[in-house]
């Protein structure tokens, strides 16, 4: 049977992709460099902000947020975590990572919430979107790291772009879920009182989907943090650096304090955003 002859490669997809990427890089690199600009500007502003603020003020800001949205325990934990990170000598790296996370989450929200709303209101759009979201979440980052570098060159901004690809799906999925979970009779009631589709969205669906949207934002933040080390491989700064450096030179201690700081930052951000979404 010729059909089941798998000894030779019949479909040279790898070559096609190679050619396509090469061709895109050759012809459209400038275009992709322009796409970088808004991300670059936002990141610079954030980095400047966190680098300029004295550590004491940063800790106070986070402690205040924790106090306002959660409880005493999280507040104490937040202060202790930031102090520990500072005493470990990783304050600057932590601030860079924080800027990167906030920057990528910002762009994820800007793109993800409208896409999620559209998916929530249209079954066809959701069907269309789903395979892309699956691919974004499961494709190993290393696969798209190289084309990203080829198109956007190395550095923190490329790291953020790779992070956005990975962290975008949860906010889309959970926004869509939130819209779909709104009781149909509430939508019906709004329509019966003469609401336009836009009013239904703004006054009923979106406010009621808010807890789910916030849960999506929380997941996006967590996933963005998990990309920190991978982003460091393509030259992004921050807490990924000590880990990568430690791995390269077999300095287990250095890798450990980098990893520990990432975990602490993740826990602080998780608890605070969960507190916000439950309010």
């Amino acid at each position: 049977m010729r059909i089941f002859n798998f000894d030779e490669q019949l479909i040279p997809l790898d070559e096609w992709v190679q050619t396509a990427v090469d061709w895109t890089v050759l012809n459209y690199r400038d275009f992709f460099q322009v796409i970088k600009v808004p991300v670059e500007l936002s990141l610079e502003a954030l980095e400047w902000f966190f680098a300029t603020l004295p550590p004491f003020v940063v800790i106070m800001l986070f402690a205040l947020a924790a106090w306002r949205y959660t409880g005493k325990r999280v507040t104490v934990f937040t202060v202790l975590s930031f102090l520990l990170v500072g005493y470990l000598g990783l304050w600057d790296d932590t601030m860079t990572t924080l800027s990167m996370v906030i920057c990528s989450v910002l762009f994820c929200a800007i793109a993800g919430i409208p896409l999620g709303i559209m998916a929530g209101r249209s079954d066809r759009f959701e069907m269309f979107l789903r395979p892309f979201l699956d691919a974004m979440q499961t494709t190993p980052a290393f696969v798209y790291l190289i084309p990203v570098v080829m198109l956007f060159s190395i550095g923190t901004v490329s790291g953020i772009l790779a992070t956005i690809v990975f962290a975008l799906p949860p906010i889309i999925r959970l926004t869509s879920l939130g819209i779909r979970q709104v009781h149909p009779e509430l939508v019906e009631a709004a329509l019966a009182f003469g609401a336009t589709p836009w009013q239904v969205l703004r006054k009923v669906q979106f406010p009621l989907a808010m807890p789910s949207v916030m849960a999506g934002l929380n997941q996006t933040i967590m996933m963005a943090l998990s990309m920190v080390v991978i982003a460091a491989l393509i030259g992004a700064g921050g807490l990924g650096n000590p880990v990568v450096q430690g791995l390269n030179t077999l300095e287990i201690g250095l890798a450990t304090i980098g990893g520990l700081s990432i975990v602490l930052l993740a826990m602080v951000l998780d608890r605070i955003t969960q507190g916000i979404s439950q309010k």
Partner: protein, 409 residues
């Protein structure tokens, strides 16, 4: 009641499922609902419904679940798109309206109260009551003032700042009602609005609705599966079965002349004394004496004897009821010549006339405790007729017979 037509439904169809056009064709060929579903898995929700709703009446659409009544009411404000037919509101066909016109019509002319209340959980009671006005773009100050007025009408102004989930079911539905009233609609659609409430609260809400209706007449389309409720509040009732409207009429008309066994079965177990009123059964077969200056007790007595009756009903030239005289009371008067010989002096004591709207149950004690047939009067004391013991029993007997024939059918 004026008979001005507010809503007119003409040959309305709704088909749910994959092949609405095919189903319509099969309907034309004369297939019924079940056969069509078996053939092409398409459900006929409403089938060729036509009726009219008058301005200011409470029109109850009644049927068991699956009879298409909820679909019906949603086609009146086009939350469900009709497959064929027309719905006229004040003469305008809403089926052919553009989206903009439809939104405007929903904002200005009608509102809706839902079985599940459908209050917005993220808004306060006041914001919920103001919801329709907010959709209409009315500024915050005005709409909250009007919403507060609506809440006052249902007695919930003290709860304006609460969230809906802090309220009991009955109170939540009051908010739903206030939301419907706040936009001051011509037409109020109520989809099983009281069905989710426990019986005591349900009766209370029905009374509340009737009270509100007495203050400001609106056209109310009320969906219900509960016959008692339909009888209690409905000026007219449409009965639906399997997507068809089988009968439209006043509760009395339907009770006395059910269109088919389905309707009759519905009414089995209904106590007719609750529904039939004194006015429904009263007959004008008694001797009446029109009181004028010339009439004296002797002439009256003569008429009674000639007609072989014991009692005569005295009315004036406008048929206003004055009193009852009997052969005995007239004789007594004639036998005591020192009294002025006026018919008015022969009136029987303790006559308590019934009102035409009193139910048979209400008048039973009066009918039973006196030997004279009970006079029945309208609002302005105009004489309608009488209910005798005999007539009362005959009416009861007839409805029982109908029940037993329905039971054997």
């Amino acid at each position: 009641m004026s008979q001005e037509i507010k809503v007119s439904v003409k040959n309305l169809f709704k088909v749910f499922g994959p092949h609405p056009k095919k189903a319509m064709g099969l309907l034309e060929q004369g297939l019924d609902k079940e056969a069509i579903f078996e053939k092409i898995e398409t459900t006929i929700g409403v089938q060729n419904a036509s009726f009219e709703i008058y301005t200011g009446e409470i029109f109850v659409i009644m049927g068991l679940s699956g009879s298409g009544k909820s679909t019906m009411v949603r086609m009146i404000n086009r939350l469900i798109e009709p497959t064929a037919g027309q719905v006229f509101i004040d003469g305008e066909d809403i089926v052919s309206m553009s989206n903009d016109e439809l939104v405007k019509m929903r904002r200005k002319k009608m509102s809706m109260v839902f079985q599940s209340f459908a209050l917005m959980p993220h808004m306060t009671v006041l914001q919920n009551a103001a919801f329709g006005l907010e959709m209409d773009g009315i500024d915050k100050l005005t709409r909250e003032a009007r919403a507060l007025q609506a809440l006052e009408q249902v007695g919930l102004e003290a709860w304006a700042g609460s969230m809906p989930n802090e309220l009991s079911g009955g109170m939540q539905q009051r908010v739903g009602l206030a939301r419907g009233l706040a936009v001051d609609p011509d037409i109020l659609l109520m989809d099983e609005a009281f069905s989710a409430l426990d019986p005591l609260i349900r009766t209370e809400m029905q009374d509340e609705l009737l009270k509100l209706q007495a203050k400001a007449k609106r056209t109310i389309v009320f969906i219900s599966h509960d016959l008692d409720e339909a009888m209690r509040i409905g000026d007219r009732i449409a009965i639906m079965e399997g997507g068809k409207v089988v009968q439209v009429g006043t509760p009395e008309e339907i009770l006395q002349n059910p269109a088919d066994d389905y309707v009759r079965a519905f009414f089995r177990g209904v106590d007719p004394t609750n529904i039939l009123t004194a006015g429904d059964i009263a007959t004008d077969t008694q001797v009446t004496i029109i009181i004028t200056d010339g009439k004296n007790p002797r002439a009256a007595l003569q008429r009674l004897i000639k007609n072989d009756r014991d009692y005569a009903y005295v009315i004036d030239s406008n048929r206003i009821f004055k009193g009852i005289v009997s052969t005995d009371s007239l004789r007594d008067l004639i036998d005591s010549p020192d009294q002025p010989q006026l018919i008015a002096n022969a009136y029987l004591d303790d006559v308590v006339p019934a009102h035409a709207n009193d139910s048979m149950q209400d008048i039973l004690p009066e009918v039973a405790s006196h030997s004279w047939p009970l006079p029945v009067l309208k609002d302005d004391k105009e004489y309608v007729g009488v209910v005798s013991k005999n007539l009362f029993l005959r009416t009861l007997h007839r409805s029982e017979q109908e029940d037993s024939t329905a039971a054997t059918a």
